[in-house]
């Protein structure tokens, strides 16, 4: 299983700013290794975010998103103590889901 994400969710007025760092290679499939062989593509394809269990955002990503991807978005109506869950699935079917509390 992939390494944990780092999620920060901070209240700003009646919203929460969520900032996520994910651990992932995000290999494009265009690079070659030392022997000249293509390194297969390996990248996050789907990201979703939930607030207290309800989906608030979904996204599709391509391999041009940078390695160890960063994501920032703003959730409306979030208060301190609410739970933010971020989940991703990559093109190999690997998944990761992490949770943070809004502060």
């Amino acid at each position: 299983m992939a390494d944990p994400m780092r999620i920060r969710a901070q209240v700003a007025g009646d919203k929460a700013t969520v900032r996520v760092l994910m651990a992932h290679e995000m290999e494009t499939g265009f690079r070659k290794d030392a022997t000249g062989k293509i390194i297969p593509p390996w990248f996050i394809q789907e990201v979703s975010a939930q607030l207290n269990g309800k989906t608030v955002m979904t996204a599709q990503w391509g391999p041009s998103v940078a390695k160890n991807p960063f994501l920032q978005f703003s959730v409306k109506g979030a208060k301190a103590g609410d739970k933010v869950t971020i989940a991703w699935t990559d093109n190999k079917g690997d998944k990761r889901s992490d949770e943070a509390t809004v502060s």
Binding site: K15, M26, T28, G29, F30, K37, I38, P40, P41, Q45, E46, A49, L51, K54, T55, V56, M57, T58, A59, Q60, W61, G62, P63, S64, V65, A66, K67, P69, F70, L71, Q72, F73, S74, V75, K76, G77, T89, D90, N91, K92, G93
Partner: protein, 155 residues
């Protein structure tokens, strides 16, 4: 190379063969259900809009693209797409000169602002677009040029 790609478009079998020979990237073999492979393979704006079933984009002052003027390294370029308009269905981030234009696509719900930031890889200096797909079928965009430098052997 162009000839090969045309063949691939017409023959899945040939594509599979070339894939196992390591001759083309396997990016088109999606694992996630509902992944819009055609959109992420599109190389031009018209191809992308066709894959998304959307109209031709129109430049708009109501959409904002944020990013640095110069990226010291194209491996990590922070960019953001935002708009204060209501009725946004999706926001896209595009890098024009990348092998495929579409970097990321965000579905907007009532629960989130139409404002997303991430970091992308840029192969070279290029225009970067923030695109808003509206519920009324309009497609609005903002564009910014980001220069990518090499930097040196230090640091």
């Amino acid at each position: 190379m162009t000839t090969r790609r045309q063949m691939i478009a017409n023959s899945a079998k040939l594509a599979a063969m070339l894939t196992t020979l390591g001759l083309i990237p396997e990016a088109s073999r999606a694992e996630v259900a509902g992944y819009n492979t055609a959109a992420f393979d599109a190389k031009t704006m018209p191809d992308l809009m066709k894959a998304l079933g959307s109209a031709t984009p129109v430049e708009s002052k109501d959409v904002t693209i944020t990013g640095p003027d110069i990226a010291e390294n194209g491996a990590v370029v922070p960019i953001g797409a935002s708009t204060a308009l209501a009725g946004v269905k999706r926001m896209l981030l595009l890098v024009e000169k990348n092998p495929s234009m579409l970097s990321a696509m965000f579905d907007v719900t009532d629960a989130v602002d139409s404002s997303f930031s991430t970091r992308v890889k840029m192969g070279q200096s290029s225009n970067v677009y923030a695109v808003a797909l509206m519920a009324d079928s309009k497609v609005l965009y903002a564009v910014k040029e980001i220069k990518v430098t090499l930097g040196g052997c230090g640091g």
